[in-house]
Amino acid sequence: MESFLNRYRNITVLLLVIFAQLLLLAVQVKNDQDVHLIRVWTVTAVTPMARILEGFRGGSIGFVRNYIMLHDADAENRRLKAEVDKLKIENIFLKNELNSAERAQALQVFQAHTPSKMLAATVISNGAGSNSKVVFVDRGSADGVMRGMAVVTPDGIVGKVIAVYPPASEVLLVTDPDFAAGVVSQKSGARGTFKGQGTPLGKIDYVPGDEKVAEGDWFYTSGDDRVFPRGFPVGQVKMVRPGQPFQEIMIEPAGMQRGMEDVLIVVAGVHQEIPDKPPVTQPVYIAPPPPTVAANATQQDGAVPLAPGGTEADKLRQQYKAIGDAQNHKFGEGEPGTLPPDFTKLGQASAAPKPAPAATGPSAPPPAAAASGATGTTGARAPASSSPTGTRPPASPEPPPTTRQTPDVRKQSPSLPITEPPAKRPASDPGKKPTAPGGPLASAHRVAPSGFVGPIAPPPSRSAVSRIAGHASVLVKKIPHSWKKPSTESTVHE
């Protein structure tokens, strides 16, 4: 016997190992549950290294660029060259900051429109295997993520969490053949089941042949699957073939069209209305860095002097803080319904070196709003270009989006073209109507997710928007990563 085993040792071990793995497979299939422990070990071993790599990549890109640029510097003009290089790096840094901030803006504005409680996450790696349509995100059970939670972006659904580990979660993408979600047509209300195909296009099954579905129609989540809340965009129909009993419908998923570096995990889903109009996709506008003249002008106004060190974001933060202090406003302590500080004079600082803070203080009504005399609770924002002089008209102040969870006011006034989350109006003055070009958050609302906002209003002038968006981007960058829980007001309309 011993000689037999020695002679066939290799094949015996092979059979044993394969048998053990077959047994493992059988247990998983029979019990319909995973062997979690092995996955936890592997994920715990691999994802920290992926994080380290990601951090190393982010940090080294700027360094390598800097080194290469300085490598050819001439000794005679080293000082000038270094100065130019520094400006270039700063420019790249600011552009990256703006990109990041705009992504954060998009997610943040999206969250402001969505009553569901969400958790921001970053995709850190793909799944193993060339045919694998899964990704790992940097939020796990330690952050409250649970299996079965929906994962979305402002453009639409992305996937769902299929496994949760302490440091990370595994997300099954909508393109995976195993993915399915209940959907409903935005136009006809036809219900079906969206299924991934392993290709960029997905399929919608079980739509009866007599339902009217045309190319270009949008499908939204129906909420029937108990994973995705109702009202999230799924995608646009690319091909329809009539059939009996069911039509053959191919759809292009919308959630991953603009990449998915950052996603939102729906921690507590709340059903939403399906919008009346299809979502309008707008490219993210990359604003130029904030003008330095504004900083200089603010210093001339007697504001807190800027620290010699620090980033542009720090300088802007100080400017905004100085404006708030000048108007006796304490950030984060305002009661609901109170007016936030008037930031409009920040952009006018270079044109009007001496603004009167008292006239635009929290207690003073905005002149434009007072002059309009319009009634109603909401209104469309006028574009910045409506000002013939190019300077911004006095604006109705607006709190930062982090402090606002707003209901969808189209229920109250469906005909109004809404371009941003409707602001809460002071109870003492319900007739005020915002007429300003948007304040510091105008750019944020222009990248608001389609499907949750109405048609986009005519864009403001480029110069005004870029200046405003630059400031807003830097502000939004400072929003903490964990999102604020929506207030109960935001779910009232459900």
């Binding site: 040792r9 290799n10 071990v13 092979l14 190992v17 394969i18 793995q21 077959l22 493992l24 497979l25 998983q28 299939v29 995973d34 062997v35 092995i38 996955r39 070990w41 592997t42 994920v43 071993a45 691999v46 290294m49 992926a50 790599l53 990601e54 990549r57 995709v123 850190i124 790696s125 793909n126 799944g127 193993a128 295997g129 060339s130 045919n131 694998s132 349509k133 899964v134 990704v135 790992f136 299929i162 595994e170 099954l172 995976d176 195993d178």
Partner: protein
């Protein structure tokens, strides 16, 4: 031991030389390959075709010329791949186990330092790997996967080219006799 460029078969067992590796190499290289597969295609999607874990399994199995060692490396790497994918645990495990075993068995008889042979082995084992996975998915899990013959051939060839360069690099990690 040196071989002529035209000989690919070993005349005797004496000609076969078992490559030895330090323990950290046997641990770090497969881990790096898995990390590469889950991380790099996230930024360079065109590199998703690379099956580095498989290539590493083939290399260690072939070079160590030990079927038991080869199949164990294959099993561990395959299970790690399963853990990081949506697959049930064991799918890649079984496939890589068999790849490791057969690669080690082939390595006993062939001159595995030969570049052309390495290219051929990497290509064949990639094809075998994909085909076996397809068979197992259909037979054990009843998944209706499509086996794309032409694209598998092309991707297998690309992997084989990468394998030749990769194996040259890994040769430098061998312990000197």
């Amino acid at each position: 031991m040196s071989y002529s460029g035209e000989r690919i078969l070993l005349n005797s067992q004496r000609e076969s030389q078992v490559a030895r590796f330090r323990a950290w190499v046997l641990f770090a290289v497969p881990l790096a390959a898995i990390l590469f597969q889950v991380y790099v295609p996230h930024f360079f999607p065109f590199l998703a075709f690379l099956e580095l874990p498989l290539l590493v399994v083939v290399y260690f199995a072939v070079m160590r010329r030990a079927p038991v060692g080869g199949l164990l490396i294959g099993a561990l790497v395959g299970l790690a791949q399963d853990s990081l994918s949506k697959n049930l645990l064991g799918m890649y495990g079984i496939v890589d186990t068999m790849v490791g075993y057969f690669a080690a068995s082939v390595g006993v008889r062939l001159d595995v330092d030969h570049n052309f042979l390495r290219l051929l082995l990497a290509f064949l084992f990639y094809f075998f790997h994909q085909f076996l996975y397809w068979v197992l998915a259909r037979a054990l899990l009843s998944q209706q996967l499509a086996f794309e013959f032409q694209s598998t051939l092309v991707i297998g060839l690309l992997n084989a080219v990468v394998a030749v360069a990769l194996y040259r690099f890994l040769d430098k990690l061998r312990e000197q006799a």
